[in-house]
């Protein structure tokens, strides 16, 4: 197919693909006064920021913004380090039965989340972790580790082992070799995993629904799900504005890092 034809097909489909996003923004920007559910396609005014402010107050959304930010930053960061440490142990330090240990860690990603929900809910209630930020951070970290270990093991396999041996000859400790040599070398892969996992944590519904209750612990997406069933009618524009607020960080992050991210993923293939 010719270039022009391909480009036109892509542009037409791209525009169609963005129609739902257009509808979201246009209607999230209507003030409750001008909002009518019968004129969805026509923009009226631009009160998006006012609606977002309203949404932040309406149902505890504001309370959950900060904790969600903590979850989406801390858990993937810890998971990336823990996964890198595991990959380092297996590949560079040549841990005995390293592959078996890798399978143990990676196996954690194979099962549906549904298998761990109830015991976590039950166990968390018993040890006082239910409805706490620490509890949420722990579970998000554990869930992010297998994928991180997978990519990092693959990445370190591509590093020549004499890099490690040379560092040993220089008298470096294993910790130092890990922190000063292997981690910096892997920075692009680390960031790629971090972005993916941060997006996952930010967008999580199920764990938030199961393991939290209070406005300040509950993740933002879970709060949004609650809002959707509570409010309607004229307040629909407020709910849609909340949807924009919740979606904005991941969309911006994703678009900014699109090229880099594809590269990081491609690295992870080997």
């Amino acid at each position: 197919m010719s270039r022009i034809l391909r480009t036109s097909v892509l542009v037409v489909f791209g525009v169609i693909w963005l129609l739902p996003v257009y509808l979201l923004i246009v209607n999230a920007a209507k003030s409750p006064l001008t909002f009518t559910s019968t004129e969805s396609w026509v923009p009226t005014d631009f009160s998006l920021l006012g609606n977002i402010a309203e949404a932040l107050q309406l149902s505890g959304l504001g309370d959950s913004v900060l904790s969600t930010l903590i979850y989406a930053l801390v858990s993937p960061a810890v998971a990336v380090l823990v996964g890198a440490a595991a990959g380092f142990a297996i590949v560079a330090l040549r841990l005995k039965h390293g592959f078996a240990w890798f399978v143990v860690i990676f196996g954690g990603t194979v099962f549906p989340l549904q298998m761990v929900l109830l015991p976590l809910f039950d166990g968390y209630s018993r040890v006082g972790l239910f409805d706490t930020q620490l509890g949420m951070i722990l579970v998000y970290t554990a869930i992010s580790i297998p994928f991180s270990a997978f990519v990092m093991r693959n990445f370190f396999t591509g590093v020549a082992h004499n890099v490690f041996e040379a560092a040993v000859l220089d008298g470096a400790t294993t910790w130092r070799i890990f922190a000063r040599l292997y981690l910096p070398m892997a920075s692009s892969a680390l960031v790629a995993i971090f972005i993916l996992q941060a997006t996952f944590v930010w967008n999580d519904l199920l764990l938030g629904l199961t393991l939290s209750q209070s406005d300040n612990v509950r993740p933002i997406v879970t709060t949004l799900a609650g809002m959707q069933s509570t409010y309607g009618g004229a307040q629909l524009s407020t709910v849609l504005a909340a949807g924009v607020l919740v979606s904005l960080p991941t969309v911006v992050l994703f678009l900014l890092t699109q090229k880099f991210f594809a590269r990081g993923l491609a690295l992870g293939q080997y």
């Binding site: 791209g14 015991p119 949807g243």
Partner: protein, 291 residues
């Protein structure tokens, strides 16, 4: 080498320990507990009563569960056909196209949205007299179906919403696959006059097969776990008509407090996921030896 490696064993254990401990305590222990609970009658109070396969028998006698099972099957088929197919088409269209990276952006935006965000937008579009009905009305089509109420139409429109979200990442994965194809066979094929469909069937498709296995495998596993979009758009309703296994499991456990039955559904879901993943990957990986 072996002796030099072995002197780091203690250090290596220290490095791998945090990962193993976190995964074991927060993922494997719960996994075992759910498996145990699936053989018991338990409502969270007192002790679980061992009832063997009772929950599993109850599951298959429940018409609601069968509906949920069929819906999940529909999700698997739909998610395979639509997003994987369109994703591949997009990757091929943007491949080696100047500005292709930018032309892919509209398709990647929905991928970064949460399932609830997608559900929110599409509920707005599909509600009665919503944006879609208004658009159709402008073309003189007034008699529209009740998109989110009539089954199985509601599941079909939700699959389309999920496809809207998932196409971009499939396109991205296929693009990575296309870019990793060695240049020589491509040049050779072009010199021989292979273009378009011929180039695709004889060179690109076979070369993409390992990646297709990954994409298809990921899609099956993800579609079996469908939860967010359904909760956001229909809550599984009306009357459970659009429930998926993941949603039924959630309801039995956390709404009806039937922990044993909920666990049994989770175990069933896991077994199906495992079988699908193993069967598909085995078949695909054995084909790989053909070239």
């Amino acid at each position: 080498m072996a002796s030099r490696g072995s002197q780091y064993q203690w250090s290596a254990r220290g490095f791998i320990a945090p990962g193993v401990i976190l995964v074991a305590v927060l993922l494997y222990l719960p996994l075992l507990w759910t498996t145990f609970l699936s053989f018991t009658e338990y409502n969270g109070l007192g002790d679980p009563d061992w009832i063997g396969f009772g929950n599993f028998a109850e599951m298959f006698e429940d018409p609601g569960f069968i509906v949920s099972l069929l819906n999940t099957l529909l999700w698997v088929v739909g998610t395979l056909l639509i997003p994987v197919g369109i994703g591949l088409a997009l990757a091929l269209l943007t491949w080696n196209l100047p500005g292709g990276v930018w032309l892919r952006v509209p398709f990647l935006i929905p991928y970064a949205l949460s399932g609830i965000g997608v559900g929110l937008i599409w509920s707005f579009i599909l509600s009665s007299n919503g944006a879609l009905d208004q658009a159709l009305g402008a073309f003189g089509i007034a008699d529209t179906p009740r998109w989110l109420v009539d089954a199985p139409l509601n599941t079909v429109v939700m699959i389309i919403a999920a496809a809207w979200q998932g196409v971009g990442v499939n396109a991205l994965l296929f693009t990575i696959g296309l870019n990793s194809i060695p240049k020589e066979p491509l040049e050779a094929a072009r010199v021989d006059g292979a273009t378009g469909g011929r180039l695709f069937t004889s060179i690109l498709w076979p070369m993409l097969r390992p990646l297709t296995a990954v994409v298809v495998g990921l899609s099956i596993v993800a579609s079996l776990k469908t939860f967010d979009i359904v909760l956001g758009m229909t809550k599984g309703g009306p009357g459970g008509a659009s429930e998926t296994l993941a949603l039924t499991m959630y309801k039995e456990t956390f709404v009806n407090s039937d922990y044993g039955l909920g666990s049994a559904i989770a175990v069933f879901l896991t077994i199906v996921t495992m079988i699908a993943a193993v069967l598909y990957l085995r078949q695909q990986l054995s084909k790989k030896h053909e070239f």
